[in-house]
Symmetry: C2
Subunit: 439 residues, 2 copies
Amino acid sequence: MPTQFDPPSGTRDFLAAEWEIQEHAFARIRSVFARYGFEPLVTPAFERLDVLLGKYGDDGDKLIFKILRRGEHEGSGEADLALRYDHTVPLARVVAAYGSQLPTPYKRYAIGPVWRADRPGRGRYREFAQCDVDTLGTTSALADAEVICAVHDVLAELGLHGFRFQLNSRRVLAGLLEAFGVPAGLGPGVLITLDKLDKLAPDEVITELTGRGLPEAQAGSLVGALTVKDAVEQIRDALKGSEEGAAGLDEVDALLSLVGGQLPDDRVVFAPRLVRGLSYYTGPIWEVAAAGGAGSLAGGGRYDHLIEQLGGPDVPATGGSLGFERILMLLPEQGTGSSRLDVAVTIMDERHAPRSFAFAGAARDAGLRASVYLGSSGKLGRQLKWASDTGARWALIYGNAEEEAGTVTVRDMTSGEQAAVPLSGLSDYLADLAAGAEG
Amino acid sequence: MPTQFDPPSGTRDFLAAEWEIQEHAFARIRSVFARYGFEPLVTPAFERLDVLLGKYGDDGDKLIFKILRRGEHEGSGEADLALRYDHTVPLARVVAAYGSQLPTPYKRYAIGPVWRADRPGRGRYREFAQCDVDTLGTTSALADAEVICAVHDVLAELGLHGFRFQLNSRRVLAGLLEAFGVPAGLGPGVLITLDKLDKLAPDEVITELTGRGLPEAQAGSLVGALTVKDAVEQIRDALKGSEEGAAGLDEVDALLSLVGGQLPDDRVVFAPRLVRGLSYYTGPIWEVAAAGGAGSLAGGGRYDHLIEQLGGPDVPATGGSLGFERILMLLPEQGTGSSRLDVAVTIMDERHAPRSFAFAGAARDAGLRASVYLGSSGKLGRQLKWASDTGARWALIYGNAEEEAGTVTVRDMTSGEQAAVPLSGLSDYLADLAAGAEG
């Protein structure tokens, strides 16, 4: 592709085949969320700059696409608007703006592009779709369970297999630190390091923990408990020694029991090592691991004070986010999607154009996708080549012979078989083809 | 709404009810376009600034939302990207980029937001949806006819009535100027003034024409011919005196005959006064007038050299654009859309939460939208109020009495009638409700 016609760095043009795969996935996601009573929310592509700035940390702020002021203010080089960075800050603004007009609890999903000025790379884009689902206004564990079940159903509906939910709670993590005597001041840093247990060897993690000021014996027993074969049992035992830990464990077990009744066996497991990077979670947290360790497909948790921190009212909230780009890559192979037409109508003579045009209309009335040949060749071979390129299942041919006989030739593009259909019977014939095409 | 939580000026938040109306309309538009063999194209929200600048005239350039350079370049106050202003310039870029990878002819539609920094007003937004349909790569009048029929079918499918296509040709207009002896240099200006015949009195138009340098007698006969009762016949006669005019008339008549066979009688009329503001049209032009003079619903025409002017290859093209915001305002009243659930499941006792949660799952398995009560009240009245607020048709109630009897109470929220359904028969019962709900 000539470089000057590329889409901007990190963005993509979606031609028909790629877009149809996305749109098909979006439709399935929407239908699952609707089945749970989540409703759509669509906010503008841009927000006022002050709504976004300072919400994603210094690193996040740098990745915000800012929009220059306009008119006489353009010369100032200042920005007043910025492209949406996620769906959560707009949600906080909407909840603040519409308050009591919204249902209680407010269960909404958002599907649409967000923009981040990240360095583009393999599978990493500057414009990419995010799919969020959240319930605001309730502290009920049933809301957490609903989000998890909805996300599960989305992944299953999309045709994914072998994925697994890892469930933990921020309260379990707090209890863990307490049970192993980690000083409160070291807590956040220790959790960040423990989050690396999937990537680093236990020894490396212990080294990093001691570097953070944790005595080596403590670091060793903490990492040991998390990495032994029966780690989950050991941690369960250890948590009983902490009030917060025991409460967290109850929270996890209640959720396991709620969602366990809905989902296939072993689809959700307690994962005491799961930390999730974001600091705003306050209760249950979860992540969906793809089959074969292909990364995380979705994640979420409870974040009871985030909406207030983002400028909204102080409402409890729980939700999740689908890693849509990664999910797309794992989807089962789609059909080639190359078919644009069911019926291709040839035009052998300009004199016949109105009649051929009407044939295409009759095919559409029968519910088939149809078009006449729009090129300039009068040769049947060229026109049938076009018909084949469109993926059409049938070609309609009307030339002088057909004009004389009062028929139209319907050619099966797969078998090459042809039928001479009287003009008066064409609509019925097309309706039969349409009915057969659906079956 | 507290001002600081407003969406940015000229943009809108779409809560569920408004969004569902839009999404429903989008789905219908997509399905009609697909029936004609048009395929979707989705391009990024922003383009490189140089791709957009200079394409919309000086006034257009001022309305482009520009995106500030990032990182170390942010301080320069310079922009390098800009939000999409329409779907045509991105189309030209895509055709230039993908060339032979695209089907020939390339029939595509684009539905999505565009952004213009216009002064916001009633029905005028800075972020609004545009729906374009275009065929590139053919000079065939059948392509023009297809676009017109497709736009017609979209409007009909959306439920609009009484609208009418006004059809003209740039060649008719050129012939008209020739037939009335308008000097070539005055042509473009004269057309701009004639375009005002719908808003100004004939005298005012004559005055404006003489102001442009046209002798009063000529201005008078031109305006007279266009405004008399049998104007169309007079113009048809006058055009015979010009080669270009006669060719334009043939073009119009051929199109009228092609689309006339497909559309209801009088749905398309020859409108020799139709000019359409944009200078890039080269052949047939058309506009859709809403019933009762409520403005234009769609417009389009042939623009054989525009793609090249926009930076693409020199391919012939024809297409149309739907005035989506205006169409939305004219749509027949939609259902209130307030229903979020089919089945609302109460929870009378925390002990029953897992069972109630499973009931909701069973309802979803039956294809119904269902959720459990997520609030904190244990009172049946409050929970039934919630069920009613969600628009649910049925409430499932499971309390101590039901536990003892091994049943669940299914309450019809409209009639208030209740049935005691044995737990073992609930799935079948819900399946029956779902089947009845579809009927």
